[in-house]
């Protein structure tokens, strides 16, 4: 159940980034909002229990604050999601 909530939070962060990429039309997402969504993921203790998840989330947070393109942030978040799913499969 916990794994699901972490995956949901990462998916939420990805959705926020994708809204920037797609120019969703009536909304403006700031880097602060993206960073908040990623920090929400980092706050979950279970992200610490699975190898590489925090590493990728940290990289995504750094990429956001460095002003890297949204696709790069999205790619790094997908990597975190993949690491989380892989970790749960191995456990």
């Amino acid at each position: 159940m916990q794994g699901r909530s972490a995956a949901e939070r990462i998916r939420k962060a990805i959705a926020v980034v994708n809204a920037v990429v797609d120019g969703a039309g009536d909304e403006e997402i700031t880097p602060t909002e993206i960073a908040e969504a990623i920090r929400d993921c980092l706050e979950l203790p279970e992200t610490a229990n699975v190898p590489n998840v925090r590493k990728f989330l940290g990289e995504a947070l750094d990429a956001t604050s460095d002003g890297m393109p949204a696709d790069f942030v999205a790619m790094t978040l997908y990597a975190a999601l993949g690491a989380l799913q892989e970790g749960h499969l191995l456990n």
């Binding site: 998916r11 939420k12 990805i14 959705a15 926020v16 994708n18 809204a19 990429v21 797609d22 120019g23 969703a24 039309g25 009536d26 909304e27 969504a37 393109p69 696709d71 790069f72 999205a74 790619m75 997908y78």
Partner: protein, 216 residues
């Protein structure tokens, strides 16, 4: 330009019916969904201009150098992933759109298009240095994005009709950003209805409501 209509229970069946009539393969045609229902789907299949198609296929032409580079990078990525698929550059597309086609590519689309989104993000990071600042490429697998955009546009138009009849606002299901964008674009020219988004990702929804007159 040759075209034919096809009907079937599913989109694939409808496209196949039109392809048989035209005697063409999927890689040479453009598909437009005319009606998509629970019982029957109607499509219009148009043969892509052979001259335009060949201009994309020729890697030596300088004008298509960027498209060809991007296509090769995506093809290489798919090869490393062990996916056997063909990558074509959609003619006349802006932004540059890459169509991936092949057999059993459902895994490349993934849950609600999640894997496709990831593939597109990776592709854009890989090809970034070949593109101008702010330029992006769109990756589509078996025309999934195109089909989905068409479906949500249909939903938007149906919702708009209902709003005009009842005067009540309608909240649609949660959608991805590109789907919401398609809805806003579909309704932006309608003088009687307006669309806005509410809620937070990934449960953000579009609300279609009556447009209030300026004097009200």
């Amino acid at each position: 330009m040759r075209s034919a209509e096809g009907r079937g229970r599913t989109l694939d069946e409808a496209v196949d019916a039109a392809l048989i009539e035209l005697g063409e393969t999927r890689r040479n045609v453009d598909v437009k969904v005319l009606r998509e229902g629970t019982d029957e789907t109607l499509v219009e299949v148009t043969v892509i201009d052979p001259a335009a198609a060949s201009s994309v296929a020729a890697p030596s032409q300088a004008a298509n150098g960027k498209a060809e580079t991007v296509r090769n990078l995506l093809e290489g990525l798919l090869k490393h992933m062990g996916v056997r698929a063909q990558v074509m550059v959609r003619t006349g597309s802006d932004p540059l759109t890459l169509d991936v086609s092949g057999r059993d590519l459902g895994a490349l689309i993934g849950w609600r298009g999640e894997t496709l989104r990831a593939l597109q993000s990776v592709t854009n990071v890989m090809v970034g240095k070949h593109l101008a600042e702010g330029e992006r490429v769109i990756v589509d697998v078996e025309r999934y994005r195109q089909r989905r955009e068409h479906t949500v546009r249909e939903i938007a138009l149906r919702a708009a009709r209902q709003v005009k009849m009842t005067g009540d606002a309608i909240t649609l299901d949660a959608m991805q950003a590109f789907e919401r964008r398609a809805i806003h674009l579909a309704l932006e020219g309608d003088p009687d209805v307006t669309s806005s988004s509410i809620g937070e990702e990934p449960d953000r929804r579009v609300v279609v409501g009556p447009r209030k007159a300026a004097s009200e």
